[in-house]
Symmetry: C2
Subunit: 383 residues, 2 copies
């Protein structure tokens, strides 16, 4: 009366001892061992994702055997394995990653916290991260802090609650305490900083040539003949702002140009800020003849304003800025920039993080610098 779970035949079945009190059977045709469960015909449950238990029941074997069959275990009969795979395909089995993650203690997911995905730099970084992550079999969970320290903290907590295997983060411009990071760092969770990093934490970091880049931009302006170069820096707390400002100062010093506080403005990346700065500079008795901004968007806003005012670029004022974008190349005059290769930044950061995750014990934090590139365009090309 009992049929083979594979071929369905009855006449080929012979009893073959007992396993843990359950009658064990053997199909001579299929060379397959299995045991019988009391058939439960009234289990018309609602449709659900099939589990290894479902597979086990239809084949009359145990879930552990199914698990072994699907995980390339050595200690399993080839016939059984094939049967399991057949039924798994038939029932469209998909392993429940939640259960796997819970058991293994790892989710194969990395968390990303960025200030704003709508900024091309971060969108590029995210794209780079996703490329590397998906190639390595990791999923990506992205959160935006919207430049709010509080939101950033909540984001980090949420990602940690989801038990991400590691974290990639670029801080808010208002972030100057890092307790929300330290907490998890102490628990041993791999964290990699990029772009807006934090020096007081012992994490791996991916940064750009902030100093070198602004130095190159400002030196370029000087070589084009500028002698009074104004700087639109970022928020004072932000580390990369400081570095970029230092590059600006170093370039001036190299060419024996004075550093004038009148010409240095700390913006918070808002449009009003850059226009205020510009207007202040234009009202000085001695106008600047060059402008360096740490964010290309500020430079573009200034270009638009300068054009309205009828001030000639680059003849009266030349501009150069950090960060490239299609927009920088397409406005008139096109903007001289220092390209940061955001996609590369993302790729590197993800690569390092995954390395940190896999080799957690022997990993030692280090800092990777992504080389940038000076792209000279019309806004500074006087010659």
């Amino acid at each position: 009366m009992i049929a083979c779970t594979k071929c369905g035949k009855v006449e080929t079945i012979v009893k073959s001892g007992f396993v843990r009190g359950k009658q064990r059977l053997y199909c001579k045709d299929c060379e397959l061992y299995f045991s019988v469960n009391p058939p439960n015909p009234s289990t018309n449950k609602k449709p659900h994702q099939t589990t290894i238990v479902d597979i086990a029941k239809t084949l009359g074997i145990s879930p552990s055997t199914v698990s072994r069959a699907l995980n390339n275990s050595q200690e399993i009969n080839e016939n059984t394995r094939n049967e399991v795979i057949r039924v798994a395909n038939e029932l469209d089995y998909r392993p429940n990653l939640l259960a796997q993650s819970l058991h293994r203690g790892e989710t194969h997911t990395i968390g990303v916290v960025i200030p704003d995905i709508q900024r091309p730099f971060f969108a590029g970084v995210v794209a780079g991260i996703q490329k590397v992550a998906s190639e390595a079999g990791y999923r990506v969970m992205i959160c935006q802090s919207n430049e709010s320290h509080n939101t950033e903290t909540l984001n980090v907590q949420a990602l940690m609650a989801s038990r991400v295997d590691g974290l990639l983060i670029s801080h808010t411009k208002e972030t100057n305490s890092f307790e929300h990071i330290k907490l998890h760092l102490r628990k041993g969770i791999p964290i990699v900083h990029f772009d807006r990093v934090c020096d007081e934490l012992e994490t791996a970091k991916v940064i750009q040539e902030d100093f070198e880049g602004s130095f190159a931009l400002v030196e370029h302006l000087i070589k084009q003949g500028c002698r009074r170069i104004a700087a639109c820096a970022g928020p004072e707390d932000l580390l990369i702002s400081q570095k970029r400002l230092n590059g600006y100062k170093a370039a001036l010093q190299k060419y024996d140009l004075p550093i004038e506080t009148d010409l240095i403005f700390h913006s918070s990346f808002k449009k009003e800020d850059s226009l205020n700065a510009l207007n202040n500079w234009l009202e000085l008795s001695q106008r600047p003849d060059g402008i360096f901004t740490v964010h290309y968007a500020n430079a573009i806003e200034m270009i638009m304003s300068l054009k309205q005012k009828g001030i000639k670029i680059p003849d009266e004022i030349a501009l150069a800025a950090f960060g490239d974008d299609l927009l920088a190349s397409m406005i008139e005059p096109s903007l001289t920039v220092y390209n940061q290769f955001p996609f590369t930044v993302g790729q590197e950061a993800a690569t390092i993080l995954i390395d940190n995750i896999i080799n957690k014990e022997i990993f030692v934090p280090f800092t990777k610098v992504i080389k940038g590139e000076l792209i000279v365009r019309q806004s500074s090309n006087k010659i």
Copy 2:
């Protein structure tokens, strides 16, 4: 010899019967009941995330009581609850969302599949999705298909394996079979389409005014005096391309203008495509005097090329395109566009999806149209 788990005193402890064979104790000071576990001093395990079991052990109560204390259950003593909360804070307890999700059968996570996060439209959509999702307590998992149907399928599978509660998707431009979606739709997983939707599936959809938008753009060009308007359409398979092309044709028909196949080009959004199309049109015996493109990037590429060739915009050729971006407003001449409000699209899509998730039984799919806005700029302003 036994001390209270709260105040630590020994003299206030009295025996208070048994619970399931375990000695129950009572602290007269704290009015707290608890029982004792055999102390296990040699459990110096490696540091790990604290669990409710850890809390239970330090307090001498059972995990279920801890769970009830942390979940606002009614049937628990207030003193016990407070103690649990105190210890939970002390040990920095964070609930393991994996375990919760596994038990509850829901992850409070929604999956998003988009072609390319670096395109401002999709970045805006994602930002809108994240805003709504985080406000509703949902996390967001984002995948890029990179316009590859195969990658899209893998993305969907990965998200489903992670047991996301719902899916937001905008299809690849090469996607014209939808088995990978149907499969999961049959299993009852809420799916909402946006932008590049699919008519053959019974899902909720968030779309733009594709027909009305291109109609408005083309009608605007006609009113500016254009009589031979070329169209740079999208991939033929893409539904929104067809709709937008229909809007173009309808506008021509309304004003009794002929539809000339010479003037219709199907691009795949690549730069070469748009330049090829432009060059073909310019070589016609009768050049077009207006160009409509379904993607603003194509229009911008054409503007750059036209300027190089010395062709005057809008006098010789006027342009108007779908989709707004900062770039469109800043190039010269600035580009007339039909703004799609990507952020709103994302917000609406997420809202509908979450509604679908929560009210799964009574939800009926519908289509929401996000109204757009014609923004007239220099590229078409002849008057």
